[in-house]
Amino acid sequence: MKLRRFIVVLLLLAAMVGVQIFLRATGQEFCLTQLTMALYYALVVIGLGLVMGYAGQVSLGHGGFFAIGGYTTAVLTTRDFSPFKDTAWVGLLKAAHVFVAKEDLFGAQVMVVTPWAAFLAAMALTAVVAVLIGYPALRLKGHYLAMATLGFGLIVYKILLGSTVTGAADGITSVPEWSLFGVLTVSGKTALRVQNYYIACGLVLAVLLLLQNLVHSRVGRALLAIHDRETAANAMGINTASYKLRAFVLSAILAAAAGVFFTHYTGGIGPSEASALKSVRYVALAAAGGMANLWGVAVISTLINYLSLRDWFGSYDNAVFGTMLIVIISIAPEGPLKPLGMAVRRVFFRLRPSGGKPHGAA
């Protein structure tokens, strides 16, 4: 078991490095830009996979969490707090290195929040919002839950569109780069492209590893049990409401973290990140990856977002996602990877299905 997981990690790592080396060799390293963006989006989808595939709850509001993360850091790191320079709390926070004074693009002296502090603030805000929404929403089922999460996403979207603090329809630009631990920098600069690709890879891989540990532990079994038979899970002593909420909050935080990294990487964020269509796309990708199959979700969503960001689908972009939803759910609701994998095995290995556990649980 463990060995196999280890091999998967190695393979994935090899694939990530291999892609980079291959691209460098063929002089197409520019593809890493879209790949990096797609990896951050994959993070959202992985979190959604946890909620949908394990806890069995649908969320049509994850775009909202991504936007909360991205906007929090964007607002805090671009807004000039120097008018409040002399108030006590700013002084205090400045001493704690939450604020930093710097010069903006046009030479004016401004005081902004450091990316690290903004990141932590974004995580905290997301957690609070996710609990406030998740606690009542997760008591609802089926359509009602879908509607409640959709409503939440729309509220976020409309607030972003209506507020001048968030730049209304234009969003926020000129978000500074984020220096991690002094060595790495999250930034869209061409010179830092390779580095940023590996930052995104590392982040996705780390999250995958942590979540793999999680789903193979008592918590993961509890979540899967809830998905499968909620009543039985409850009767087995699992506090279903609490676990659903925790999974929801965890995935919201993942989405928000993706939003923070993404915003620093692209240097800006717009309200369309919170639109219902965006949330629906995440659901489509989670479904395409097989929901409970986190590796599959990661690979598929990276791939498809990558293609989308490279304009492969042209003006049929949304149509592709819509069709994906319909086709996958009506033909292979467990995701196309499972039947595909079986077919591949049958063709190449001529193996018979072992009594092993279904792919979805891995």
Binding site: M52, G56, V58, L60, P136, A137, R139, L140, K141, G142, H143, Y144, A146, M147, A148, L150, G151, F152, L154, I155, K158, I159, L161, G162, S163, E230, N234, T240, A241, A276, L277, V280, V283, A284, A287, S315, Y316, N318, A319, F321, G322, T323, M324, L325, I326, I329, S330, P333
Partner: protein
Amino acid sequence: MGSGDLILQYLLSGITKGSIYAIVAIGFNLIFSATGVLNFAQGEFVMLGGMIAVTLSFYVPLPVAITGAVILVALIGCLLEVLFFRRLRRHSIMHMVIITIGLSIVIQEIALHLWDEKVRSLPYFTGKEISSVAVFGATISPQVLWVLGTVAVVFVLLHAFLRYSLQGRAMRACSSNPEAAMLSGINIANLRTLSFGLSAGIGALAGCVISPITMTQYEMGGPLAIKGFAAAILGGLGNPMGAVAGGLLVGVLEAFSVSKLPAAYNDVTAFAVLLLVLFVRPQGLFGSPTGDGVREF
């Protein structure tokens, strides 16, 4: 303008919006009661109705164009049910929700490529863009009266259909107890198809009557569906009277929220109320509390 007149005017503008939401919500409700599917693509039926009617109106008189659009969209509704939902009976709610969302996106994209991004509209049924009817010092567009009239007629006809016709009764029997309905010889699969068609037809009719007010564009379905959905939930899913009341309520709520709050947060207010209702009283304001087991334990 006195404050009393203003309040009346807000009320009328609320009714204008509300009547639009209500007519969308009625269609929602019908599919939901008969099949248990909450059709996120309902807004697309509305859009298709408007689009097809506008296109047809170049060739045939308006009433014929509208009739044609309603029939065509009803057939599309039936077709979608047969293609996508008939086989999916045993799938989870989550799957159903996702499929209707997928359909909504795809229909919208098809409409974009079939027509284009431009805004169209049907002519006002009576009067013109500038005509209005005075009601105690406030005014309202005659087209709103058309919408309200359509809501009333659809509601009454639907009510009569469900209560007094054989097929209508069979539809109610299906939603009440599908197994017993089957044992009474009712082909429930066909009946579900019928309910999709009927609901799509009502949506298309809605798309036609609201077109002069809201205009028709390929993207209009989504927001309308969400508002109609909110209206249906507010009124209590499965309760047609509730859908109408819920729609008017959402509209009036929005209108009066404009009077006090910045209009930019208009929708925020509407959705916040929706969330509140979902959390506190998921069976809706007019639904029975013993509803359909929305909550666990």
